[in-house]
């Protein structure tokens, strides 16, 4: 398993880079070869990623959640998988380059900062069912926010292109504004729902499972703050009919706030949310 994990870890960035390059080629130049090979390339990357997660999970006997950087590989995996499902279901391929690009970025960061597979030690807390559910819900929630951010970013890009009469490649290739807004909004709803589950489990079950649990943990506070931003953006959309563009901006603020605060917390502060 260790050998498989090492091989997959080495070739996964290459696989993602190739898939990204092919999607980019299809996006910018409409190359027939690129259009034909982009999905197979993505499937290959996804298979290698599956093998990596399988090998690491089997080696340790539990899911990869030692550090946020290990979580990133799972987020990267779920982003790719979600995008592939969306592509298969809707036939919409104009946004593929951006999702594969994000997955590549997250995976590269993950591989650069994660400890070597054999250096990681198991924490028995991770075998608890409630913790597993908490982590899974948080993972899906953050992945949904990442997907929402990609759609939101593309929405703003297209909005400004149309407003400023720049009718270039992005204008030609991207789907309509309303579709991008809806995809961003639906992803946010999924994120808010799953993060709510993660927070609820965390607040109800974790105090009994984790001996050093406390309510002032910075990661817990940031998670609740992020959830509140997204929830209020959605509430504003449905209750006070806030315009779609502002909802998207709020969601993006929430997403980048998450990235920055989580990075700071993990480098500067410590708390019970470390499983090493």
């Amino acid at each position: 398993m260790l050998a498989l994990a090492r091989i997959c870890e080495a070739i996964l960035p290459l696989a993602y880079s190739s898939a990204f390059a092919i999607y980019a080629l299809a996006f910018f130049r409409k190359e027939e070869g690129a259009a034909r090979w982009r999905r197979p390339a993505l499937v290959v990357a996804l298979l290698i990623h599956t093998a990596l997660i399988y090998a690491q999970t089997m080696y340790h006997g539990h899911c990869l959640v030692y550090t946020p950087f290990e979580m990133l590989t799972l987020i990267s995996f779920t982003i790719t998988l979600t995008y592939l499902i969306v592509e298969l279901a809707s036939g919409e391929r104009g946004t593929g380059m951006f999702f594969v690009g994000l997955a590549l970025l997250l995976q590269t960061i993950s591989i650069m900062f994660s400890p070597a597979v054999e250096d990681q030690s198991a924490n028995p807390v991770l075998l608890n069912d409630a913790v597993g559910l908490h982590i899974s819900a948080a993972l899906i929630g953050y992945t949904a926010f990442a997907i929402s951010a990609v759609y939101g970013g593309l929405y703003l890009m297209l909005y400004h292109q149309i407003k400023s009469n720049r009718f270039g490649t992005f204008y030609q290739r991207l789907p309509s504004l309303q579709l991008l807004e809806r995809m961003s909004e639906k992803s946010s709803i999924v994120g808010v729902a799953f993060l709510a589950v993660a927070i609820a489990i965390g607040l109800i079950y974790l105090p009994g499972v984790l001996p050093n649990f406390h309510y002032y943990d910075p990661k817990l506070i940031v998670t609740i703050a992020v959830w509140a931003i997204y929830a209020s953006a959605l509430l504003a959309k449905y209750v006070i009919k806030l315009e779609g563009r502002k909802v998207v901006i709020l969601s993006l603020v929430g997403f980048f706030g998450t990235i920055i605060s989580m990075t700071l917390i993990n480098f500067v502060l410590s708390g019970f949310h470390r499983f090493q």
């Binding site: 409409k30 149309i162 009718f167 030609q172 309509s176 504004l177 309303q178 579709l179 315009e243 563009r245």
Partner: protein, 440 residues
């Protein structure tokens, strides 16, 4: 490749000439029949659109001169055609020209999507009237395949290049789906008419018409066959109801002011609104574009879209030309194999006849089950024996002259003189099997 193309287009003749030699749908069958009945052509097809009339023929006999087609066209249309008004092309040039036509490369507006359909109509018409043989059938199917490749592999057909289509394209970039959107057309002139028709063609059914003169507005609704009437005076109060607003009137002032639009935006709950002003002078205050979620575009903006789309299409021409060259090479290779098809057919028949005769002689020596097995075995051996000379003949790498020479050798070797005559096309390998998708 004995193909001739004679015709004219926007590049060769003025409209006054083109309109006199255009072929209507009802006229084409008779014209195609006349081309063949007169003994001039063994195969014929006519591509006739508002911008071009082109006649493609495979002559019945040599020598042949393209002037014969020009004279026929003049006679048929009773027009005195001058040499300069027509082009004539032969062999590869004729094939390339049709590929360029079907790919939108030769169109007045580069990448005119309609041309694929027009070439398909010409192909179907000639086919239905029995005026296509294997050469023109192959030529037209390859041309359609080429057009389809250019469409899918390049950006030659991308982006709208007319103002009314740009407005529709813009609406499709903002709304999803566009079909259910409420649309208001202000103005009952030709532009309003065209815009309403284009939107309706995209599935927009909720269309309201308004105009200063009610009778003209209602007249437009009658002409269109769809749409409902709204008095122009109610515009400020009802502006917020519409997702798409097309303004095309001759009014000298702003019909939609900044204040109207702001008030409407406030009542739209953040939903986007597209206002397209194709009037001259402008009827919509351009400051409206500064209001969030309102996209206000005037003629200048739309023209810049047209220009950038035309530019993008022009930049795609080299890629389209590569596809055309690729398809032309395949078509030429197929044509070079045409003379050997009777030899191949003769060779097959020769092998099958020998096998059949020998099997008949020995039928009584075997039981029914064994004989069936032997029949299959013999058929397989014959297939392998004749497969070798056939393989040499069909070698795509060999030039046409050598193919003919080899065909002569095979005929002598197997004594095939007089046995040929099957009128079948050369076998298609995977690289030349380019039957177009006719469902497009």
């Amino acid at each position: 490749m004995n193909i001739y193309a004679v015709g004219t287009s926007h590049k060769h003749a003025p409209l006054t000439i083109r309109e006199r030699i255009v072929f209507g749908d009802e006229e084409l069958p008779a014209a195609l029949q006349d081309l063949r009945r007169g003994g001039m052509a063994s195969e014929a097809a006519i591509v006739s659109t508002c911008n071009r009339t082109e006649i493609y023929v495979v002559p019945n006999a040599e020598p042949f001169h393209a002037d014969a087609v020009r004279e026929w066209l003049g006679r048929w249309k009773k027009v005195d055609l001058q040499q300069g008004h027509l082009f004539s092309l032969h062999a590869g040039s004729a094939a390339r020209h049709l590929f360029e036509v079907a790919s939108g490369v030769d169109s007045q507006v580069i990448g005119d999507i309609q041309v694929i359909g027009q070439v398909r109509t010409a192909y179907q018409c000639a086919r239905q009237n029995g005026s296509l043989g294997k050469v023109l059938d192959r030529l037209f199917s390859t041309a359609l395949h080429t057009g389809k490749r250019v469409k899918s592999e390049t950006e030659l057909f991308a982006g709208a290049v007319s103002i009314s289509y740009v407005a529709v394209e813009l609406a499709k970039k903002i709304f999803h789906p566009i079909a259910g959107k409420r649309t208001l057309v202000i103005g009952a002139g030709d532009t309003g008419d065209l815009a309403a028709r284009n939107l309706h063609g995209q599935g927009v059914t909720n269309i309201t018409i308004t105009n200063r003169t009610e009778s003209r507005g209602r007249e437009l609704i009658g002409r269109l066959g769809f749409g409902s009437w709204m008095p122009l005076e109610t515009l400020p109060a009802r502006l917020h109801e519409f997702d798409i607003v097309i303004v095309s009137t001759g009014a000298p002032n702003y019909l939609i002011t900044y204040d109207h639009a702001r008030a409407a935006a406030a009542r739209r709950d953040g939903e986007p609104q597209l206002i397209v002003d194709i009037s001259m002078p402008r009827n919509v205050d351009p400051r409206i574009d500064t209001i969030p979620m309102i996209f206000c575009k005037d003629l200048n903006d739309l023209n810049s879209v047209v220009e950038s789309n035309v530019e993008r299409r022009r930049a795609e021409l080299p890629r389209a030309e590569l596809i055309i060259a690729d398809e032309l090479a395949k078509f030429s290779a197929w044509c070079s194999l045409l003379p050997v098809t009777p030899v191949i057919a003769g060779l097959k028949r020769w092998g099958e006849e020998i096998a059949r005769a020998e099997l008949e002689k020995n039928r009584n020596r075997f039981g029914a089950a064994d004989f069936e097995k032997i029949e299959k075995l013999v058929a397989s051996v014959v297939k392998k024996i004749i497969g070798m000379p056939m393989g040499h003949l069909l070698d795509a790498q060999t030039d046409a002259e050598r193919v003919l020479m080899k065909a002569e050798y095979v005929k002598m070797l197997f004594n095939l003189n007089g046995t040929a005559g099957d009128d079948e096309a050369p076998p298609m390998n995977s690289s030349t099997n380019n039957e177009p998708d006719r469902t497009e």
